[in-house]
């Protein structure tokens, strides 16, 4: 299968790339990992007139912690970079849990977290993870940079509020107000299939209770779901079983799944609740081991 014809540009700076996007009048797409874009172009679901390949732009492949604990992931940081990082496993447990279950090992060597979030596929794993962490995307446009909460970035299936002349340059996770814990669980029929259900739970524990919580849901609605009521049920608790049960119930209610060949809506809701309980239990166990 061949994509439609397009003009190919390979800028060496972000500013150059932004100028190319601005000149393309909304007809350009950015190529980072390309693991969703290229298949869509081959199927002609996407037919951009111009491809702006940012892989030649230096200094975008990082993931690192600022001195204050803010975590930054550059636009060319691949899933595999996150999967293989020991430092990340300590600093960002929810991201570390999700990285190994994104797509398959070959896609993970190319695909990027930032690209996946901006692709805004309701079945994409990273947007849920970022929502659970109150993460943001930093976008650069002709008038400089702005930060957009991932929960506000996505405004529909495959749709974001990014302007046609903006490039997402990094993902930012704010510093934790306590000790971070979290997990990501995903049900898939086989490796590389789209998620049937995915659940991201992130908490920040301070003085034995939850200072902040976030829950993001994958593949159970027209877009990534921010289960904020469910997360609120965890805040101020010791993450005891009753609190986790309440959150699990609220998360299942927040889900808007549709019955399809991957399962019925009721089944998917049940899996959402089960995954919240399982991640809650995982966190409880590791807290007890640490204590």
């Amino acid at each position: 299968m061949y994509p439609s014809r397009f003009r190919y540009e390979a800028p060496s700076t972000v500013a150059e790339a932004v100028a190319m996007l601005a000149a393309a009048d909304g007809e350009a797409k950015i190529l980072a990992g390309g693991q969703s874009l290229i298949p869509m172009m081959k199927l002609r679901f996407a037919a951009p007139a111009m491809i702006v390949d940012i892989n030649g732009i230096g200094g975008l492949d990082y993931h690192r912690s600022d001195p204050d604990g803010t975590y930054r992931i550059g636009a060319l940081c691949r899933h595999a970079d996150l999967e293989k990082s020991a430092a990340l496993a300590d600093a960002q447990p929810t991201i570390a849990a999700a990285a190994p279950v994104v797509a398959d090992p070959l896609v993970r060597t190319r695909g990027t977290l930032v690209g996946s979030v901006c692709h805004a596929d309701p079945q994409g794993d990273w947007a849920s993870v970022m929502v659970s962490l109150e993460g943001a995307i930093v976008a650069q446009g002709p008038n400089g940079r702005r930060s957009i909460q991932v929960a506000d970035l996505i405004d529909g299936p495959f749709q974001t509020v990014l302007a046609p002349d903006e490039i997402a340059v990094e993902a930012v996770i704010p510093a934790a107000r306590g000790a971070r814990a979290g997990g990501y669980l995903k049900l898939e029929r086989r490796v590389g299939d789209f998620a049937t259900v995915g659940v991201a739970v992130s908490v920040e524990m301070s003085g034995g209770s939850v200072a902040r919580a976030g829950i993001g849901l994958t593949a159970v609605g027209p877009a990534t779901i921010n289960a904020s009521d469910a997360a609120a049920a965890l805040v101020g608790t010791a993450l005891d079983s009753d609190a986790v049960d309440a959150a699990a119930q609220l998360a299942a209610e927040a889900a808007q799944p549709r019955s399809d060949h991957r399962g019925s809506a009721d089944y998917k809701r049940h899996v959402v609740a089960t995954f919240v309980r399982r991640i809650g239990a995982q966190i409880q166990r590791s807290e007890q081991e640490a204590a």
Binding site: Y2, I38, I51, A103, L106, V107, R110
Partner: protein, 193 residues
């Protein structure tokens, strides 16, 4: 040099409707190669149709099966999900680059000895994914092998022997490393490729 991708050039293109091509220069199996390609040409097609390296198979053509796996700067990628222009200035290793003129690569020997292939269609991709694994983890567990190959599908469902083949290769490569310096075998099995 002839322009690749002629087969999909619209026949009704007017004189002023020239197809834009770009020169790419890359290293394929240790050899410098160049081609003029249309940007939409996929890396798999450059390798197969341009360089006639037909060992790289295109199976599903939808980023699912991994039959088209090649090593791109040593990293396993699906060559049907990259544009050929992205390989400009990079190194690509295909299955043709595994064996030397006289000797199979230990991974190939393993697939032969352990009956790691039936129809053989997925085999090139399996072997290159395995090569990347063994370079990163010379002594992988069975779980690690299954995990590393989970992006490569075998429609004959011959996974059991594929895993055995990779274990065989890991042992052989390990034995080669141990015997390096102890004898003068001097082969480059498990080298950088």
């Amino acid at each position: 040099m002839s322009t690749l991708f002629e087969e999909v050039r619209p026949s009704d293109g007017g004189a002023g409707d020239a197809v834009p091509v770009r020169r790419v220069e890359l290293t394929v199996n240790g050899e410098r190669r160049a081609a003029d390609v249309e940007p939409r040409l996929l890396l798999a097609h450059l390798l197969r149709n341009g360089f006639r390296l037909t060992g790289t198979h295109t199976g599903c053509d939808t980023t699912n099966c991994g039959a088209c796996t090649v090593l791109y700067d040593g990293v396993p990628v699906k060559s049907c999900t990259m544009f050929a222009v992205q390989a400009d200035g990079h190194e690509v290793l295909t299955v043709e680059g595994l064996a030397t003129a006289s000797e199979l690569h230990p991974i190939q020997e393993g697939f032969k000895d352990e009956h790691g292939l039936q129809c053989g269609f997925c085999t090139p991709g399996m072997m290159l994914a395995a090569k990347a694994l063994l370079e990163e983890k010379p002594n992988p567990s069975e779980d690690e092998i299954r995990w590393a190959l989970s992006g490569n599908l075998c429609r004959c469902t011959g996974y059991q022997n594929i895993v055995k083949a990779v274990m065989w290769a890991a042992e052989k490569l390990g034995a080669n490393v141990e015997s390096d310096g102890a004898d003068d075998a001097g082969d480059d099995a498990g080298g950088e490729g």
